[in-house]
């Protein structure tokens, strides 16, 4: 089943003024349920604008957005319920914390959903567990925590709504490698346990390669492609021309294939690369 679908989605900022700017143009895409999608694109390619359409924060200038089978904008009264179905974690989400305690901040979303206090409580604890926040941290003020911990509180605030689709805009921006791996690992675990749909916007091709199954590439407000990760990275040259770097493994394999070595250039993880090299070497021996 499709989780999210857009039809000829176009968005223009400040229409009919000198500042008019088309941020997203004619994007049609269908994302299947349970996929882990990496969203790639240059700064200003329209990624952030696109994802803000998927939970109705921005209204399309033209075109349509469907959540499941339902038209997002068909009934404005139901708009809020779609916001709970599609959870969006913004860039630098820690700047949006406001609760007196970590607990109350995480509880903001579920409380807005109108859940009973018991349900809210179990949602908060479950979300806190996913991002590795201890019981004692829940009673602290979010402003006492470190940067990485604040970010995890903010992500937990969206996880607690238990959305069918989870969208994260650069969740690891400005974190050290350790903090980055930790957050990405937590998201991966969450995905495996909940089997929900995830969209991860990232600048790091390594992060996308390690986690995502599908990749969505935006280029100059248009959809460049939406395909399986290995297919997308196999088009490394086109990506480089757009100013996007492919993972290091892909780069090595693409240039090997270019030199006429019979190797599959769609390999992008270290593990797959190892297997592919072994296969290639073995075949080479047999050939001799």
């Amino acid at each position: 089943m499709t989780a999210i679908r857009t039809e000829h989605l176009t968005h223009t900022y400040s229409p009919n003024t000198p500042f008019q700017k088309v941020a997203v143009e004619d994007v049609s895409i269908a994302i299947e349920e349970g996929e882990y999608v990496g969203v790639i694109g240059h700064t200003g390619s329209g990624k952030s604008t696109l994802i803000q359409h998927l939970n109705g924060l921005l209204a399309p200038t033209s075109g349509k957005v469907f959540i499941g089978e339902e038209d997002l904008w068909a009934d404005k009264a139901k708009l809020r319920s779609f916001r709970f179905a599609v959870g969006l974690v913004f860039q630098y989400p820690e700047y949006q914390l406001f609760g007196e305690t970590v607990y109350s901040d995480i509880a903001f979303g579920p409380t807005n959903m109108g859940l009973t206090p018991d349900e809210v409580d179990s949602r908060v604890r479950q979300a806190a567990r996913f991002v590795g926040l201890t019981e004692e941290k829940l009673q602290k003020s979010p402003f006492e925590l470190s940067g990485g911990q604040k970010r995890r509180v903010a992500i937990a605030g969206v996880l607690a709504m238990d959305p069918r689709v989870l969208i994260l805009d650069e969740p690891t921006a400005g974190l050290d490698p350790k903090g980055r791996d930790k957050i990405l690992g937590e998201i991966r675990e969450y995905h495996q346990e909940k089997k929900n749909t995830i969209l991860l916007v990232s600048h790091s091709m390594e992060d996308i390669a390690k986690n995502a199954t599908m990749a969505l590439v935006m280029n100059q407000a248009r959809l460049f492609c939406y395909d399986r990760v290995e297919e997308v990275f196999g088009r490394g040259e086109e990506l480089s021309r757009m100013g996007l770097a492919v993972p290091q493994v892909s780069r090595v394999f693409l240039s090997l294939a270019k030199r006429g070595i019979p190797i599959d250039p769609r390999v992008y993880t270290v593990e797959a690369a190892r297997d592919e090299i072994i296969r290639c070497v073995k075949e080479g021996r047999q050939g001799k």
Partner: protein, 267 residues
């Protein structure tokens, strides 16, 4: 969206009005206000209207902008016009119960309305053609003599500059925080007054926190570059009076003199 609000109505351009020294422009605006208020009769006021209109034409600011600048003061204009119409004594034209409209009343009402319109349109031209930074720069230079009385002129101007600089940043920040809380189901559009006020808490707290953070960072950055107030500070962009500035001053002085003459000649 909140982003569409324009603060600081500067309209970039290269017209002679744009190129005037900001100090001169502030003084011209003051002169124009004086002119409007010393005009005692319709001829004097007409001179003011022509002068203001001419300045708009030279500045190449679209004339619709006059209407835009007047929009917020329409209630004040109507209010004063009605009051003048009803409460100025004189020859009655129409009477009903205790309400009386006089010939003099209508005259004063129209006169005052035109005066307010010119006042707003004229001073708006100053902000349309001067960037906020140039404006504060001009204000600082004009207030320089106050330094003798230990008035913190430079500090005041720096505060204004910083405030103006951060308005767009804070608007953007507010927009982002609002979106983020809406994504968590915050309901900002419905409910009673109390409910709406309470709905603002999740937006105001992060906004305050980030404003303080920004202020801290800015203070640190300024100190790192050895900022220590206005004493001995020189400027990269010096203000210079050009022939255009003197010409503009001449025009406004001539017009003020003209209005005074009209007041004396036509009682």
């Amino acid at each position: 969206m909140i982003k569409d609000i324009t603060i600081g109505q500067y309209f970039p351009g290269r017209s002679p009005v744009h190129r005037l020294d900001p100090r001169v422009k502030i003084l011209l605006a003051l002169g124009y206000i004086v002119l409007l208020f010393i005009a005692q009769n319709a001829w004097g006021l007409a001179l003011g209207v022509v002068l203001g209109f001419g300045a708009y034409v030279i500045s190449q600011i679209p004339l619709v902008m006059i209407l835009k600048s007047l929009k917020p003061v329409v209630p004040i204009i109507i209010f004063t016009a009605v009051l003048n119409m009803l409460f100025v004594d004189g020859e009655a034209l129409w009477q009903w119960w205790i309400i009386k409209i006089t010939r003099e009343g209508i005259h004063t009402a129209v006169f005052m309305a035109v005066r307010i319109i010119c006042l707003i349109a004229g001073t708006s031209l100053l902000t349309y053609t001067t960037s906020p930074i140039a404006l504060t720069d001009g204000i600082e230079r004009l207030m320089n003599p106050l330094k003798r009385f230990h008035f913190p002129v430079h500090e005041l101007a720096m505060m204004m500059t910083i405030a103006l600089r951060f308005i767009p940043t804070l608007i953007e920040e507010t927009d982002k925080i609002m979106s983020a809380q809406k994504a968590r189901g915050a309901d900002l559009e419905t409910g009673g007054l109390m409910q709406r006020a309470r709905a603002l808490i999740p937006i105001l707290i992060p906004l305050f926190v980030s404003s303080f953070r920004r202020a801290d960072e800015l203070a640190l950055a300024m100190e790192c570059r050895c900022y220590r107030g206005g004493e001995g500070r020189t400027r990269m962009k010096q203000l210079h009076m050009g022939p255009g500035d003197f010409a503009a001053c001449g025009i406004i002085l001539a017009c003020i003199a003209g209005v005074v003459a009209l007041n004396l000649l036509l009682p």
